[in-house]
């Protein structure tokens, strides 16, 4: 990449990226949404989607009890059916990381990582010092994944070097022990051109994953946005040989939504990305819908919410 870390060369490079035609991108996403996933492929895809869920609770009202219950669900999403796989990760606020890690370890969830949101999530409005402290805190308490937010104010006002430097700094804090997801908050970036630029910026700065949203702003992980991000990781791999992961978060509530995401991955970045190490889905309500659909596929009749646990 012809970027030497200076803001000038970064801006130059981002300017050379081909533009995105919004109507065309939306058309492509809409066409992929017509794919019909049935029978054996649906079974396979549902289980894959479950394994990709970053089961999330990010509420001001979160309590240790709530987080513990979530962890139990993460390990055994359906207590009545041991064939249901565990989820991809647990995603919580910083001060819940230790509780989550302990609960998971005590319940057979040693392989499920804890992802922490940090860097003054969701707004990103704090000093660099605070953001670094925030990240270190999470890591010290057992987080293996960090979901950071970019400074959208800096991005939109053209201070791209600042955005770059922040990501680089947080990645340094993560080191090799934790993978870094960079949240672009695409709802605030608005245009697909910005999504493309921000994706590249994050990848160049050291992101292991690029993530659409905090889930606190709508619109979040719309299909055209995810499409553009998948194109970015596809092209980045071609140029560097490095595969970066993608995580849509927010607004993915039903099995149908999840299927559409998997199709997008399959026909954009490619089947190599159809694995939890390269694709995650940030969600909470989605898991129960996946379970109900799984029941329907297994039993042949429609399920009811009474038969899946609240948490």
């Amino acid at each position: 990449m012809i970027v030497d870390g200076s803001e000038g060369s970064l801006k130059q490079f981002l300017r050379t990226l081909p533009p995105v035609d919004q109507v065309g991108a939306e058309g492509r996403a809409a066409m992929l949404a017509t794919r019909s996933i049935k029978t054996t492929s649906k079974n396979w895809a549902i289980d894959l989607a479950i394994r990709m869920v970053d089961l999330t609770t990010l509420e001001g009202a979160d309590t240790p009890g709530k987080v513990r219950a979530l962890c139990a669900k993460a390990v055994r999403p359906d207590p009545s059916d041991p064939t249901v796989p565990s989820v991809g990760a647990i995603c919580v606020y910083n001060d819940m990381v230790k509780i989550a890690r302990t609960e998971l370890d005590n319940n057979g969830g040693q392989n499920i990582p804890v992802a922490a949101v940090s860097t003054a999530f969701p707004s990103g409005r704090a000093s660099m010092e605070v953001k670094i402290r925030d990240t270190k805190d999470a890591l010290e308490n057992g987080a293996a994944e960090i979901d950071m937010v970019i400074d959208r104010g800096a991005f939109l006002s053209g201070r791209l070097g600042e955005v770059f430097d922040e990501i680089k700094a947080i990645k340094e804090v993560c080191g090799e022990s934790a993978h870094l997801k960079v949240i672009l908050e695409t709802g605030e970036l608005v245009t697909l051109d910005n999504v493309r630029k921000a994706s590249y910026l994050a990848m160049l700065a050291g992101a292991d994953f690029i993530k659409t949203s905090t889930g606190k702003v709508a619109p979040a992980a719309t299909a055209p946005v995810v499409l553009v991000m998948l194109e970015a990781v596809r092209d980045y791999y071609k140029e560097t040989g490095i595969r970066i992961g993608v995580k849509p978060a927010g607004g993915i509530r039903t099995t149908k939504d999840a299927m559409k995401q998997l199709v997008l991955v399959n026909e954009t970045a490619g089947p190599e990305w159809l694995t939890p190490s390269l694709f995650r889905i940030g969600a909470s309500a989605l898991l129960n819908d996946l379970l109900m659909q799984r029941m329907k596929m297994r039993d042949g009749y429609y399920a009811s919410p009474n038969y899946v646990t609240l948490d």
Partner: protein
Amino acid sequence: MNERQVSNFEYAPAPESTSIVNIKSEYGLFINGKFVAPKSGKRFATINPATEEVLSKVAYADLADVNLAVNAARSAFTKTWSKMPPAERGKYLFRIARILQERAREFAVLETLDNGKPIRESRDTDIPLAAAHFFYHAGWADKLSHAGMGTNPKPIGVAGQIIPWNFPLLMLAWKIAPALATGNTVVLKPAETTPLTALLFAEVCQQAGLPAGVVNIITGDGVTGSHLVNHPGIDKIAFTGSTGVGKAIARAIADTNKSATLELGGKAANIVFEDAAIDEAVEGIVNGIFFNQGHVCCAGSRLLVQENVQDEVIEKLKRRMSLIRIGNPLDKNTDLGAINSAAQLARIREISDSGDLEGAERWSPECELPKAGFWYPPTIFTGVSQSHRIARDEIFGPVLSVLTFRTPQEAIEKANNTPYGLSAGVWSDKGSRILWTAQRLRAGVIWTNTFNKFDATSPFGGYKESGWGREGGRHGLAGYLKAGN
């Protein structure tokens, strides 16, 4: 080099059920509001091109049948349709539009069975556009003083309409809707290989209570068509099909008072500039030539790519092409369906083979073609020059010829260097360049940063040997009206 996408995410078969259609074992001709047997008793088979199984036997209309149909149309015009208040005419068209919407799924499945196109396309494109075409024209029936043909334009009379096999129901809508809205009556001959949705449409006319004789549908072949063209009771011909036949029609009516609109062939240039949104342009290239198996008169069959982005575009194009799913047209995940007939497949092969012979480089993704039926893989030829047959002749199949250009002026010259002039595509992020290019292209429909978009309000038709007149929009009414005050 063939690339193969290795995928664990195999989409299991997702077939659309055919239980919704009820194909009769044989059909008559729809004349004067009823289905009647052909005078000669002759019938011919129509098959499913994906499987070669016979779907039904339809009637063969000879001169006597054509006579009957034209007389029925004339009688309906004189006694009923021309006397009817325009608003009431419009209401029949609204009814037809609504019934098409109600029976949309049935029509989509039938179209796919008879034509071979993917169910996704007939469901999401053909049928909705057809219904919308009737809906749009229904509203014109009582507003003709605003059509730009004077304050009191008049219908021409009886129209003879001949349509092709590539968009059977949609082409029927493009012909019948404006003709009826403007007060004419019609005799329509669907294509030999795709008569079924036209015959089902006749049922819709009955359900809508359309007065007998306003619409007549006669199945047959090219001979039937020429009887219709030559019939003295026809005032106007509307033809969509090959340029060769179009010219024959023009000659045939030369010493008559008949008018004609012709929508003929094309060899459209799809121009990709260096500053295009590349991913979307690649989608547009694919859509431009592989939509409907390339059986599209306005297909973007010549890719004109700016030389300095050629490698990037072709590489992304090949990758994208290897995602094209070819197979059972009734499967909801199929992207590329069957070639409509053995004859068309032979034509595609013959012209494409000339590409190999003339030195162009052929590439197709690896794909498994079904054993029965007529199939051709999505194909591109690179290293093509203007003199190659595959750059000049309309192939009417999923075959793209790739040429390059260095400057915008060169792109224009190459794009226009053809006797055809139906359509063109332009891909650039720069507005003024888009408009500059559009201004210089000699084509009737120019898609910029998109392709193969159709709308009832948007006039469609070609320059030069791509035909006469326009269909759709206010401009499309002119072909069916005599100016008057």
